[in-house]
Amino acid sequence: MKFFEDSSSQALKIHCELLLSLSQFFAKGGEKLPHTLSPLLKSCLAVDNHFKPDQLYLSNEVLANYSQANGEEYLLMLYEFNRLFVGPRAPVAPPYESVHLNTDHLVMGEQTLTVRKLYRRENLQAVWQRHEPDDFIATELEFAAYLLSRIIEAQTVRNNAKVQLYKTLYDEFWDHHLGLWLETFAQLVAQSAKHPVFSALSSILSTLSKLHPSNTKEANYETFAPQISRRSSCCCLQPNPIQL
Amino acid sequence: MSKQLGFLHNSEKCVGCRGCEMACKNEYQIDPIPQWRKVFQLREDDFSLPSRMFISMACNHCAHPECLRVCPVEAYTKRDDGIVVHDPERCIGCRLCTMACPYDRPQFNPAKKKVEKCNLCYQRIDQGEKPACVAACIPGALALVEITTSLDQKTGVLKTLPGLPSPQITTPSLRFVGPKQGKQIRRD
């Protein structure tokens, strides 16, 4: 069973949770792994039960195993996280879309600006706009989750127009952004990961991109007021002060 | 074709500072690999005295461009002013032009899987500006010129320099003022 073939609210919620927990994983950084690993595991398990994607259970076992790890183990994961994604040594897999999709491999590329515009269409903006690139993986994942949550809301109030609109928006965002680089990024992590948790992370990321069907309908646009929940699990996006 | 624009490189003035090379990359923010313009240091043995002598070369907008001839997708076109323009939109990355150009100036960009090259900043020229490399040349060694017989009759204007492919292959629109060597008091 694939995402969207099953667009039951339950399926969407599970999908949404996975995106959010991944977003958290990157946003909070290696230092907060003790807090972000278990939620990630939880959402992965949910995905596994619901969609039964092949191989995911293996990564889940790794996560399950290491979410119980002791402080020292967590330190190893932290150092690996920073080696892969942060620095100060040139990171192995910079977590920014433009570094991977733009042929000049710099941050703040054209992708950064296009996702900024997409956020703005939803009256949202990245919290560290103009400092942190807007196409930081955590921000993009959170935005994807946001779009799903809008679908769920619309479903509960039976607003089909809105459901359709946000499905289209979600597809659009996926097909033009996350979906384009997540797999490459996952491969890069897989190649150089020196700790099982990050190999697991890599396969979770590829599961995410594999499970998503490609679909490119353009959305005919009308904006709704942003409904970004101020839950702890949202930290990369905020209502756009200019717009509100 | 009404005229033929090209470059005049004064090897007497060029100190190989490579400003042109990077000004070109800066103007178009070219990806790391391709070098539309490249400064070459000539071989010492080709001259009476060893010294550091340079030529700066981009696409030579040849009168008989091999790239244009062999390209299967008509990515190359020659403007009335002789500029050979490459259209990356049409390019399918067959790399035949990179095999055919004796100057290796069409450059394959592995990131884009397409070929790129210098288009003599035709957009700038159309607005009456100098090409970025010419505008950036500090010692004033690089000039945009119209290739004419009168230019070729000028004394000191050369069609080639040691180490360069014979101009007969593509009749490049590049002329040189040859490097001049001073007196050297050497310890060998």
């Binding site: 570094v99 703040m108 103009r130 | 500072c17 990077m22 790391p32 010492e44 010692p139 004033g140 310890r187």
Partner: protein, 691 residues
């Protein structure tokens, strides 16, 4: 598309005016500022790579902590935690040792923006500290000109168009001052002869009408030979020399007694007739100009050689003349407030009692940093603060540097890229680039001053040195009120504004720094240095005989001092001059540079190469007692058979570093004006073998 004015803040003659193009808050490209009269709207190859520097994913993005140092185990920390850790460490050391002297600052030329002197200010504001004092680059020459003229002060480089005869003495403008070429060319087009004296046939030398490959470190001997010949032919400008200088005749007697052309020729390896030729031409073509490069003073007798060349200029009356001069550099346009630098130590700070009884900072030699830091015992140095500086790859004797770093308790580095120094630090703080700062830059060569706007917001969590100082001050005063005097407020632009004073504004012909937003300004001072004849020596005259030099244990007169002799064991001189694609350890690591210049090389003369069975492209091991490096050989006759050349640089993902073999040998001068003698970078001797 918005445009902003910036100035390249690198340690470079040219200090280019830049125009920065910004769209949606993103820097798109850079160009030269056409309103800058010396750099004239053009940048060098390095300048054009700035967009790659700003947006490189390799940039240091956040404050980070390494535990343990050198392990590569890095933790991202908040600015607050970083500053808290640093502040507590400072206070702890202060408590343990009763002063802040265990804290040592090493800051130099990574960013020459005036506001960046806030780094020194940071240290002053916490108390008296240990300071790496001096400059590796040019101190011997500075002292030479200080003894002779009272300070370093050169003609406006744009004035080179007026010269009729130009000698570039150990100066490779093609690589290090490219913007001077249009002026040199203008002069040449009017018939000026260009002579280049250099042990290496550089790109600049290749353009000369006459290139002289002199024996390294014997420039003084050549100048003395010329002086003797000028004297013998009475081409001396007696009037100028006697009217404006002290001890001229004393020196003339020395020439008569001690100097012969044969000796000069034998010393320098320059044929007699050539010495006579350039002596005649230099003395009889008026005005004649000499540009003394920094390379030629990086020898154990470098300062003395510069003094001799100064004397040559005086003897021919070329000093104080437009189109003339013995040009080296100047600091005339640097008269800012250094507001960010001048902070008094907190109440009751204990300092270092100098030999003169004055209490203050404890200065150690920047040019023997590793040894001097380790040598401190009362109190020992426990903490290093590094900003605008990368001793890990730029200081001599890298192994000694590594050992010294390992012995530290705490190392803080402020930088933008993960270089060798960051690798050896406990905490690294992300530095802004100059596009993310407000600043003002002057040049030590041309007379222009330009403002540097904040063109883009600082990327990630990077901060400028002053912003860091402010945070540190807030934290320290919270932890221990009064423990830091650095102001805790002010926007970057306000800090910039505080650097201006009526003096500098008058010099630049402005009433307000904001006028610089319309374009850089050129100082309103005469094009010919010393044209007023008011020298700044104790005697107010040119001191050919300098008591001050004598007092400092140097010859009073510009007489010959023997060069360093080649040791038997290491017969090959290893010169490591400035690179073309980099400025020290900046730029070469960027992707465009790594494509244009992917790997280091060592230039070896074919004769020498043959002797050691080294072929073009072969790997060569270069070694001496200190260490070794292995690098690819390039056979070329641009060097001489007993000199090999490799250009110092920091390549991405490479441990190439010429300083593994470089001994911290002091040059003869520097103490007087810069606090410490310079470094004899070019008196480095090695052995080679096929690797």
């Amino acid at each position: 598309m918005q445009t902003f004015r910036n100035v390249c803040p690198r340690n470079c003659y040219d200090t280019c005016g830049m125009i920065t193009y910004v769209q949606d808050g993103v820097l798109k490209k850079v160009e030269g500022d056409p309103k800058h009269g010396y750099t004239n709207g053009k940048l060098c190859l390095k300048g054009y790579t700035y967009p790659r520097r700003v947006y490189s994913p390799d940039r240091i993005k956040y404050p980070m902590k390494q535990s343990p140092r050198g392990s590569g185990n890095w933790t991202r920390i908040s600015w607050d935690e970083a500053i808290d850790t640093i502040a507590k460490k400072i206070l702890d050391l202060k408590k343990r040792y009763g002063s802040t002297l265990p804290i040592c600052l090493d800051k130099y030329s990574g960013n020459f923006g005036i506001v960046h002197y806030g780094v020194e200010g940071t240290m002053s504001s916490i108390g008296y500290t240990t300071r790496a004092v001096g400059t590796p680059c040019w101190p011997a020459g500075i002292d030479a000109q200080t003894y002779d003229f009272g300070t370093l002060y050169s003609n406006d480089p744009e004035d080179m168009v007026n010269t009729k005869y130009l000698i570039l003495w150990g100066q490779n403008a093609a690589w290090t001052a490219i913007h001077s070429f249009p002026f040199i060319n203008q002069a040449r087009e009017r018939g000026t002869k260009l002579v280049v004296i250099d042990p290496i046939l550089t790109s600049t030398a290749s353009k000369a009408d006459l290139y002289i490959q002199i024996n390294p470190s014997t420039d003084g001997a050549l100048a003395l030979g010329m002086a003797r010949y000028i004297l013998d032919n009475n081409w001396v400008d007696w009037e100028y020399a006697r009217a404006n200088s002290l001890g001229f005749d004393e020196w003339v007697n020395y020439l008569k007694a001690e100097i012969t052309l044969e000796w000069a020729s034998e010393k320098t390896g320059v044929p007699k007739d050539i010495i006579m030729e350039i002596a005649r031409e230099y003395a009889t073509t008026k005005p004649a100009s000499m540009w003394v490069g920094y390379g030629m003073q990086r020898h154990t007798n470098g300062g003395q050689n510069v003094r001799i060349i100064d004397a040559l200029g005086v003897m021919t009356g070329n000093v104080g003349k437009s189109g003339g001069g013995v040009n080296y550099g100047h600091l005339e346009t640097w008269g800012f407030n250094y507001n960010a630098m001048v902070n008094s130590a907190p109440q009751g700070s204990k300092g270092f009692v100098g030999p003169d009884g004055k209490v203050g900072d404890r200065s150690i030699n920047i040019n023997n940093f590793a040894k001097d830091v380790s040598a401190q015992s009362d109190p020992p140095v426990k903490m290093l603060w590094l900003a605008c500086r990368n001793p890990g790859s730029q200081d001599p004797d890298t192994h000694a540097i590594e050992k010294m770093f390992a012995s530290m308790e705490f190392v803080v580095t402020v930088d933008s890229f993960f270089n060798k120094t960051v690798e050896m630090s406990d905490i690294v703080l992300p530095a802004t680039t100059h596009f993310e700062d407000w600043d003002v830059m002057a040049s030590y060569w041309h007379y222009w001053v330009g403002i540097n706007q904040r063109a883009i917001d600082p990327l990630f969590e990077s901060k400028s040195d002053v912003e860091i100082a402010i945070e540190l001050s807030q934290k320290m005063n919270a932890l221990q009120p009064g423990s830091c005097t650095f102001p805790t407020s002010g926007t970057p632009e306000e800090w910039l504004a505080k650097e201006f004073n009526p003096g500098i504004q008058q010099m630049l012909g402005i009433n307000n720094y904001k006028e610089l937003l319309n374009g850089p300004r050129k100082a309103k001072i005469p094009a010919a240095a010393w044209s007023d004849g008011k020298f700044r020596t104790p005697s107010k005259k040119i001191e050919i005989h300098s008591d001050l030099a004598q007092k400092n244990g140097l010859p009073a007169l510009p007489i010959w001092v023997e060069e360093m002799k080649t040791p038997e064991k290491y017969p090959i001189r290893f010169m490591t001059p400035h690179p073309q694609h980099a400025l020290h350890s900046q730029f070469q690591n960027l992707d465009w540079m790594m494509t244009a210049n992917p790997e280091p090389k060592v230039e070896i003369h074919p004769v020498l190469a043959a002797k050691y069975g080294i072929a073009e492209g072969a790997m060569v091991k270069i070694y001496n007692d200190l260490g070794s490096i292995t690098v690819k050989a390039h056979l070329t006759r641009t060097t001489s058979p007993n000199v090999i050349v490799s250009y110092e640089s920091w390549y991405k993902n490479s441990n190439f570093n010429v300083n593994y073999t470089l001994k911290a040998t002091p040059s003869d001068m520097g103490k007087q004006a810069t606090g410490n003698d310079g470094l004899a970078f070019h008196d480095n001797f090695v052995m080679i073998e096929r690797a």
